[in-house]
Symmetry: C2
Amino acid sequence: MIKHALSVTRAQNFAGWYQEVISEADLAEESGVRGCMVIRPWGYGMWERIQKLMDAEIKAAGVENCYFPLFIPLSFFEKEADHVEGFAKEMAVVTHHRLVSDGNGKLIPDPGSKLEEPLVVRPTSETVIGAAMSRWVQSWRDLPLMVNQWANVVRWEMRTRMFLRTSEFLWQEGHTAHVDRADAMQETMRALEMYRAFAEGPLAMPVVAGEKPENERFPGAVATYSIEAMMQDGKALQAGTSHYLGTGFAEASGIKYQDKDGNQQFAHTTSWGVSTRMIGGVIMTHGDDDGLRCPPQIAPHQIVIIPMLRDNDEDEAVLAYCRSLRAELLALNVFGEPLRVLLDTKATKASNKRWAWVKKGAPIIVEVGPRDMNEGKAAVIRRDSLYKDDGKLATAFTPRTEFVASAPTLLADIQSNLYTEAKARLEANIHRNITDLAQHFAGDEAGFAGWVEVQWSRPTGAALDAIVGQLKALKITMRNSPIDAAPANGPCFFTGDPAVERILIGRTY
Amino acid sequence: MIKHALSVTRAQNFAGWYQEVISEADLAEESGVRGCMVIRPWGYGMWERIQKLMDAEIKAAGVENCYFPLFIPLSFFEKEADHVEGFAKEMAVVTHHRLVSDGNGKLIPDPGSKLEEPLVVRPTSETVIGAAMSRWVQSWRDLPLMVNQWANVVRWEMRTRMFLRTSEFLWQEGHTAHVDRADAMQETMRALEMYRAFAEGPLAMPVVAGEKPENERFPGAVATYSIEAMMQDGKALQAGTSHYLGTGFAEASGIKYQDKDGNQQFAHTTSWGVSTRMIGGVIMTHGDDDGLRCPPQIAPHQIVIIPMLRDNDEDEAVLAYCRSLRAELLALNVFGEPLRVLLDTKATKASNKRWAWVKKGAPIIVEVGPRDMNEGKAAVIRRDSLYKDDGKLATAFTPRTEFVASAPTLLADIQSNLYTEAKARLEANIHRNITDLAQHFAGDEAGFAGWVEVQWSRPTGAALDAIVGQLKALKITMRNSPIDAAPANGPCFFTGDPAVERILIGRTY
């Protein structure tokens, strides 16, 4: 039996395993500030990779980056009733701008510095960006107006979990204004497709893109679309959303334009975002009982070289061998970028280093000792297939030139293996012939029951409320109606009326 | 006489000119949120360039990026007395986490959601990063520990000015911990030199690096160093700081390590930062009466191609010519990166585009009409030398192949011209033989008096207070003691005691 690097396995306790990966892979930690985490270098390095790749996609679509204020006056929020209703319960509110001593050595907010109008720390920026758009848009020539910002946002969550649900998180939010519904919907779907391709590409994380049911819409949106990923415990993770906002926010903010006939019209707006939550999705999609397996496209270091030093006079030669190996690898490209290769020269034991990098999920770990050097070889460990059938480490002692020549292919292969494995799991765990949801999800507090796809008639009002309540009692929710699902061809699972589409149901994060 | 693109000249009203550049170059605007600005695409694009180049320097120094919480509990601040004293008067304080209706259709902070301990929106992160470092540092092997974050911070300023002093601003803050003073001082000076080289390189902005006098130190620091740039009105702009913090913050946060002899020691820490204020410095260093002149290294677009379309059947050929010109330019490198070239196809008049890009300061503007196309030429405008002696635009009708071949050199030349011009101005405006400060700075509310360098004895306590007060009455301050100034060799300007160093004095932003 394999003795794994983590103390908790996924099968034993998935939530505990998730926490252990985050801690052992140095991804993040509790900060001592309620609901806020510290993102450590390896975790932040993944976010930097995500930013770099996604930002290029955003710019390529003609969207320009800007920066808007952290603080939003309450009056901005009051303009859009559904929107404020959706966020009022979880907003951090700034009420004072100065501290004073209370006379007993404690600091308190200075009563004399109370703000006339409290400021909310942005939970999302439709309202403040809408105010700017109302200044920038005058004529149809100004449209489409497409901006994006990379920023921190705050939603005061009662129960937090690192990366998945924290009071403060990092994200990008795209905001666009268009002449009409058709143009805005095209942008809504473009962003959704960008997210799908990003998740399935750089993150190697298969997802289902689809429309959220009415009860799961973004507050104030006319339509909300999401990508949903399946975690290894069968639960769904909403990993990105794209909203068509109609003219509601434009009316609230006054985003008006003169059309070609000289008439004043309200713009149709959209917004779309992904966040550091994606990192939680990567962990729960690709992690195993030895820690994270980081997809090569977002790994801060794709190859880590560990010199096996013996504190003797061969050490310098081993280091030189490692340095030149690194230099050769750095000259190669994969996924259209130079390889990212670290030579780990920290003053810790080589075997500790190996397991530290296994837990962090470096895609390829290369160990070089005096014997490897003398034989012109390298000991290569692939993180996506760590063990042989006999439970021993599948280290490949490879001639150095052969390893260097194959390194880009190896990395591309690891990226595609991770995707293929996760894709097979996703497909195997979408159940299309379930007739009894209670039975299917019974006794499955830990998940692993996957998702159920049913046909439904998309009822609204009380009929929808009844369905939502029924699912809630089973601790499941509707995820989305896949945009590429087969057409409906039977009765609604819930109402018996003719179904109009298919919808996925499951437990969720 | 030249009719310039802006309505206000620098000589007429420098502050008004600055606001007009920001507005006309689409750099930023007031947001409607007190003291906070919206950074528009051209301004944010400059910040992205600054981030990209500076981040590479930071990483090359072995500093790792992380992310720390936006909110800091009051109790964290109370641990370091000088630090909290320095920031207490300008901190945004979060006191509630939910809104409710007041019953009259207005939202108010929900009294039931009052926080037990108020949270401060970070004005700087020494305290919260110190708490993390205390968890990460155990042994001398863990040192140096060097982290950085790119983040927004908030200092509640009473009088704000875009980019120079806003309630919220964007910056990077580096924080490092070391075994002893010598190692920490080395890092403090490395960061200072990184900033000097960055200002004088990519920003083409000459600066003086030096130590701030005691009264201008960062709250809680043992020593503060700065780079000071001279704006065109002769005022100083502190454009970056690096602090040696001694063991004060380590003692407050408990950053302790076991040394090689097994003894517990406090770490010596540093912090260093630059912000979006740098953009204000670039504007006031390089701007002219036609707007911004953006240094090519940080220009979001280095070359802008404007097709002169006539709404006739030659248009498509002109566009094709422009597209292939752009493609040729994109294949070239300058400053170690591919050229950044925009083909501006917006539906506005070509002459309006020209002046819009002049005001934004695109380093090279290329106009192409049917005649240029037929002659195989391009009309090239250099933003650093816009006019001929006769006051007409210095447009150079250049054979296309010649222009393409020379484009990288042209850009490098513009970058170096901007630096040379600003450097000459800086040197001409440091006065070393002034005997009467009041007379020198008299009647100079608008600046233009430059800086005065004097020798001083570096007094402390009441003697220093007296000097600070005397300068304050003249609306001037001590900027820094240049690290590469000639040794002192005479009496202190203020006290008559033997001087120990030289110090710069001037008006400041």
